[in-house]
């Protein structure tokens, strides 16, 4: 659906660049990219440089950049266009495990104001720098994510973890993912990435389990999991509202 949007705006001088964040690299992203068959740059970010460079803490998020290469909106939640907000078609089996049913229930409570976001995007495409949604350079910096030394160290631990995972050192990776989670508690991406590397079951849903295996819950290596964390933080806070 972002591709349709890209095609709609492309004649007005807009390009879309999609970036898949996954420690498994191209192998993890491939089925989704091949299914979408993009006609725009579609990149693989194996070690989450998007987090370091732009402050991405959740997905989906987007950054708007003008013709001169200036960021006019820093990384923020990028909901799907309205009407097309339906759950992805994953050919869900009838005997879906209880956990996945619960996850879908929580996910349905996530607030996504696609209407406001996409009206703002259309306004920027048309009016550029004169759009009230295009921020000044000072505001862009101010509205980018907070980063203190602890968070920066958390990013370093995440990068180390991602490389260790790619090198087959899973146990060491877990140790550094845990540090990243402790130091950058607001990052859903850091958590979801690590949880997704503990798949339960087989097939495309295995990485979406994101929590303890019911057959061996004691071996879950993380403090939280998707269901526990979204209940604690509130599904309504999962995706921040669009603020002009």
């Amino acid at each position: 659906m972002w591709q349709e949007l890209r095609n709609k705006y492309h004649d007005q001088g807009v390009e879309l660049v999609t970036v898949g964040l996954d420690s498994l690299g191209a192998a993890g992203c491939r089925p989704f990219i091949e299914a979408a068959s993009p006609n725009h740059p579609s990149l693989i970010d194996q070690h989450h440089v998007m987090a370091e460079l732009f402050g991405v803490i959740n997905i989906p998020s987007a950054i708007w950049i003008d013709e001169k290469g200036m960021i006019v909106r820093p990384a923020e939640a990028a909901p799907s266009p309205p009407k097309e907000n339906a759950a992805p078609n994953m050919n869900l089996p009838d005997d879906l495990p209880e956990r996945l049913v619960e996850m879908m229930g929580q996910a349905s409570k996530i607030k996504n104001d696609g209407e406001t976001y996409h009206a703002a995007l259309a306004d920027w495409v048309e009016h550029g720098a004169d759009s009230r949604y295009a921020m000044s350079p000072e505001k862009v910096i101010e509205r980018s994510r907070p980063r203190d030394q602890d968070r920066s160290l958390g990013h370093a631990h995440f990068e180390l973890a991602s490389h260790l995972e790619a090198g087959g050192e899973h146990a060491l990776a877990v140790k550094h993912f845990r540090e990243a989670h402790r130091l950058v508690p607001e990052s859903w991406t850091f958590r979801r990435q690590a949880w997704s590397l503990e798949p339960v079951g087989e097939g495309p849903l295995a990485r979406f389990w994101q929590g303890p295996n019911p057959e061996s819950p004691e071996s879950w290596p993380y403090e939280g999991d998707w269901v526990e964390d979204i209940k604690r933080e509130g599904p309504e806070n999962y995706s921040e509202p669009f603020v002009e």
Binding site: V14, I141, H157, H163, G167
Partner: protein, 113 residues
């Protein structure tokens, strides 16, 4: 950036962190941070990291270090100039964001999990 040494070339430092080491200091976008004693071809990562407030995480058993991003400004961005982003596509071909100068760009982050 991932490191296996704490003394690396200026070129590697720029590619990994987005900060170019120039005579006036470490520069990114329209911001330059003065540095002392980084006149050769290599970067003393610990010394520069201290000035830039880039913490280093270590995994001694794997002989690996990771240098965190700068935290000097207290924000993820120190400049509104888009940092260079070069990443491979599915076939491994590198693509640079800067090649799209002249167009409006939406950079959309997603994940398969």
């Amino acid at each position: 950036m991932l490191l296996d040494s704490l003394n690396i070339s200026k070129q590697a430092f720029a590619a990994g962190t987005g900060w170019e080491i120039k005579p006036e200091g470490a520069c990114k976008g329209d911001v330059c941070i003065p540095l002392n004693g980084q006149s050769g071809d290599t970067v003393d990562v610990r010394a520069v990291a201290e000035v830039m407030q880039m913490p280093i995480a270590e995994e001694p058993s794997a002989g690996k270090y990771a240098l965190g991003p700068e935290s000097i400004g207290g924000r993820a961005l120190v400049s509104a100039k888009a940092p260079e982003l070069t990443l491979p596509d599915l076939d491994g071909n590198p693509f640079s964001l800067s090649s799209l100068i002249g167009q409006k760009v939406i950079v959309y982050a997603w994940a398969p999990y």
